[in-house]
């Protein structure tokens, strides 16, 4: 029982690491990070909504595209 729980916890730990990695790589948690950063650096000022944030990100890519390699 104890052993199984430990194994399950270990698997859960790997899984959370993996989902953290993919979320950070793909961008799922970029908004949360932006909101934190904004509150820290500009306290009291308005924070964009998630929808607005992604519009801003895509507009930035539009203005300055990133290269992809061969």
């Amino acid at each position: 029982m104890g052993r199984a729980a430990a194994v399950a916890r270990q698997i859960g730990w790997y899984f959370s690491k993996l989902s953290w990695y993919s979320a950070t790589l793909m961008g799922d948690n970029h908004y949360r990070r932006y909101a934190e950063h904004r509150r820290r650096t500009h306290p009291g000022e308005p924070v964009m909504s998630e929808r607005e944030y992604w519009r801003m990100r895509h507009a930035a890519t539009e203005a300055n595209p990133n290269a992809r390699c061969c």
Binding site: Y21, G27, H30, H58, P65, N66, A67, C69, C70
Partner: protein, 764 residues
């Protein structure tokens, strides 16, 4: 955007044995650790064993001349060499040239703006950087280079990466990080002067045109007359648009979620492609000729580059990142489990004779030109400057990301080489020889390849037809371009591990889809980037053209996009309709272009190394630079001046012209006057481009050389490095944090207020 304060901040150093801790603020934990502890005995033993194992694997690959060599030896040789290269050579470069200063803030920390400047966890940035640099190049090049046997390719992919490719990526990243992540073109202008800068920018734009055209040609060759392939690729467009709308309007920010949905739909598209291809309407709708497909790609490229980013480009990029990382991991597992054996010879007849059908020319210089991206890729310098430095947390992480990222790409190249080498050699040449040689049918192809100097049993027409049926295609004769060969090799490996012979056709089309997907992503991103460079370059000319600087001026966007697409589109159509085969004449140009871009990047790095006063270590970028220049300029020379019409563009040009002038109506592979005129036109364009590329690079190298001379005489322009700003964040350097790094990290985590945090530094 924060403005950097140039006021020098006190650095507080604290010595503890071999370890120095540096603080930039009294009441904050250290931001940098300098660990000078000598290598432990345990590590000495571990690295000794790795070196020994690597040496054994190399010996097996190079000297074992029995029936078969197992693919696993290639993996072992590669991985052991990478580990030693990363631990010792990259460390030497770090100590002597890069000299990372973790107490200084990186551009990401100074200019953090939540869009492009964003300090990012090193492991995540590694994934980002890898996804940006890895593409079809390292998959296609090694496959084509297999014509010369597996040994030369293996040696160059591994050794070339350690001493050239990784060095370039690492040092360009270093130079750009110290300059707010400026782009390669800008840095060449800043460090080498206006002439060198202008030559570099013209070079980069033309080189990009060729890159886009050749990659598109690879896709066209893989998809022509393949309803299954065309259907599954066509489906990626509505899937991407669906994802784009989902992210924009339904659930913004749920990127992993939508990517998973997208990948499932993609797999469904691959499976259903098989059903569609069997129907009559599927045949007639999706069984497109190469020319039609070429036009589809041109229209697509234009549309994708003017449509909003969120609708097509961004979701495609998510899909392609997911597929890239997933499929490469799958292939690595497949090779380790299936452990296939080599069918190709170590060194083939064509290596010395230079008469191979896949590409003309002898081992030196054309093997190096063909492999290109797997060992040294000039295009990486566009990623290492610009995108990646703006996300870097700490200077000491550049070794992992720049050097380590390229090692991973080299490993992808080795896997591509393995998948080509395990194929039956007769089959390999059936796929890769141009239609002008094979005649295009199974019977003529069998006759042709059986007359090539190959070992092993001859192949029959039935066997060729069976191989095509196995992968769900009507024909596999002259499927040039490398992608179909790789797909057959991958289906060979993967069906043994996952799913058995019944899934061979699925894996083949999965592989084709995976390659085409990221080639198309490169095509739309590349068209955008080239358009950006073009409008930027034109706006510098002043006058009414200055208006082009405004990216929201739609007319300018449309005109510049059209110009870029017309440039690569015409080269693409030229390749498709080339009576001599297209890939075999254009791929060398692609390789030369890529390697010449590397020469520009290495020249920049060398000048910076000299300006910084590290003359003693100039050989580190200098040797790859000289080697690369020798290879590419020899290849350019041969392409321009060789008297052999198979190698030299101009000799071939005049041969066909004379034939036409003397009233002949067919010569060689050209069966009528139209085809002869096509060859005359194509060789003219290819020959002119070869001259242009070589000239631009010679100008950049010469301005670099002049600058070095001036610096050595005590003159020259000063470095354009930014003033350092004190850092106030901490992050470990390597993949796995050391004990001291963990302790310091704990102190930062214990701070009451959450201090500056990198993307994903906290795992919950």
């Amino acid at each position: 955007m924060a403005t950097p304060t140039a006021a020098p901040t006190e650095r507080i150093k604290e010595q503890d044995g071999d370890v120095t801790y540096i603080r930039t603020e009294k009441d904050l934990p250290p931001v940098a650790i300098i660990d000078r502890s000598p290598i432990t005995t345990r590590h000495k033993i571990i690295f000794g064993i790795i070196a020994l194992l690597g040496a054994i694997a190399w010996a097996v690959i190079a000297f074992f001349r029995g029936e078969t060599v197992n693919a696993v030896w290639f993996v072992i040789a590669a991985v052991c060499t990478y580990v030693i290269g990363f631990r010792f050579y990259a460390r030497l470069i770090e100590l002597k040239i890069v000299r990372p200063r973790d107490d200084n803030a990186t551009p990401a920390e100074v200019f953090e703006n939540d869009t492009d400047y964003m300090p990012t966890d090193r492991r995540v940035l590694f994934g980002h950087h890898f996804a940006a640099i890895a593409g079809a190049g390292p998959l296609v090049g090694p496959v084509l280079a297999m014509q010369m046997g597996y040994l030369p390719g293996t040696i160059w992919i591994i050794i070339g990466a350690v001493f050239a490719g990784c060095v370039q990526d690492y040092l360009v990243l270093w130079v750009s990080t110290r300059r707010r992540g400026r782009s390669l073109g800008q840095m060449v202008r800043d460090e080498l002067g206006a002439v060198g800068g202008a030559a570099a920018i013209i070079g980069i734009i033309t080189i990009m045109t060729i890159l886009l055209a050749v990659l598109a040609l690879v896709v066209v060759q893989a998809l022509a007359q393949s309803p299954w392939g065309v259907f599954s690729i066509a489906m990626t467009i509505p899937i991407a648009i669906f994802m784009g709308i989902y992210l924009r309007f339904l659930r913004p920010g749920r990127v992993s979620e939508v990517s998973l949905i997208g990948v499932s739909l993609l797999l469904l598209a691959v499976v259903s492609g098989g059903w569609v291809a069997e129907t009559a309407w599927g045949e007639s709708w999706f069984g497109l000729s190469a020319v039609t497909l070429g036009w589809c790609l041109i229209v697509y490229g234009f549309a994708a580059s003017v449509l909003p980013v969120w609708l097509l480009l961004a979701p495609r990029d998510y899909l392609s990142t997911f597929m890239k990382v997933g499929t490469i991991a799958l292939l690595a597992i497949g090779i380790l489990i299936a452990r296939p054996v080599m069918q190709a010879p170590a060194v083939s007849e064509f290596a010395t004779s230079g008469t191979g059908p896949v590409f003309a020319g002898s081992l030196f210089p054309f093997l190096f030109i063909t492999i290109a991206c797997g060992a040294l890729s000039g295009f990486h310098s566009l990623i290492s400057s610009g995108t990646t430095p703006k996300m870097l947390e700490k200077e000491s992480q550049m070794r992992l990301i720049g050097y380590g990222g390229m090692l991973t790409e080299s490993f992808v190249g080795i896997m591509a080489l393995i998948t080509a080498a395990i194929l039956n050699q007769h089959l390999y040449f059936t796929l890769n020889a141009p239609a002008a040689s094979t005649g295009g049918t199974a019977a003529t192809a069998a006759e042709y390849v059986n007359n090539l100097p190959l070992s092993g049993d001859p192949i029959t027409a039935e066997q060729i037809e069976q191989a095509a049926r196995d992968v769900g295609e009507q024909s596999i004769v002259s499927r040039t371009g490398g992608a179909p060969t790789l797909a057959i090799g991958m289906s060979e490996v993967l069906h043994r591990v996952f799913g058995g012979a019944g899934l061979k056709a699925f894996w083949y089309h999965f592989a084709i889809m995976f390659e085409a997907l990221f080639i198309l992503t490169t095509v739309d991103a590349g068209t955008r980037v080239a358009r950006f460079m073009l409008s930027d370059g034109l706006s510098n000319l002043g006058g009414p053209l200055r208006k082009l600087r405004d990216p929201s001026w739609r007319v300018g966007v449309w005109v510049c996009s059209l110009a870029v697409v017309a440039l690569w589109g015409s080269v693409l159509l030229m390749g498709i309709t080339d009576p001599l085969g297209g890939i075999n004449t254009l791929f060398p140009l692609f390789g030369i272009a890529n390697q010449l871009l590397a020469a520009i990047a290495l020249t920049l790095v060398s000048v910076v190394v000299v300006k910084k006063g590290y003359l003693k270590w100039l050989w580190i970028p200098g040797i790859p630079l000289l080697w690369d220049l020798t290879v590419t300029l020899t290849a350019s020379w041969q392409k321009i001046f060789s008297g052999d019409p198979k190698v030299g563009y101009w000799t071939q040009h005049f041969q066909y012209r004379n034939a036409l002038d003397s009233g002949k109506t067919s010569i060689g592979s050209a069966k009528n006057v139209d085809q002869m005129e096509a060859v005359i036109r194509n060789t003219f364009i290819q020959g002119t481009l070869s001259i242009l590329f070589a000239l631009m690079v010679i100008i950049v190298f010469a301005t670099g050389l002049i600058m070095v001379m001036r610096v050595l005489r005590g003159g020259g322009t000063p470095l354009t490095e930014d003033e350092p700003v004190a850092s106030t964040l901490f992050a470990p350097s390597g993949l796995i944090p050391t004990k001291t790094e963990r302790e310091v990290q704990k102190q930062w985590d214990a701070l009451p207020q959450s201090h500056a945090r990198s993307v994903g530094t906290s795992a919950n």
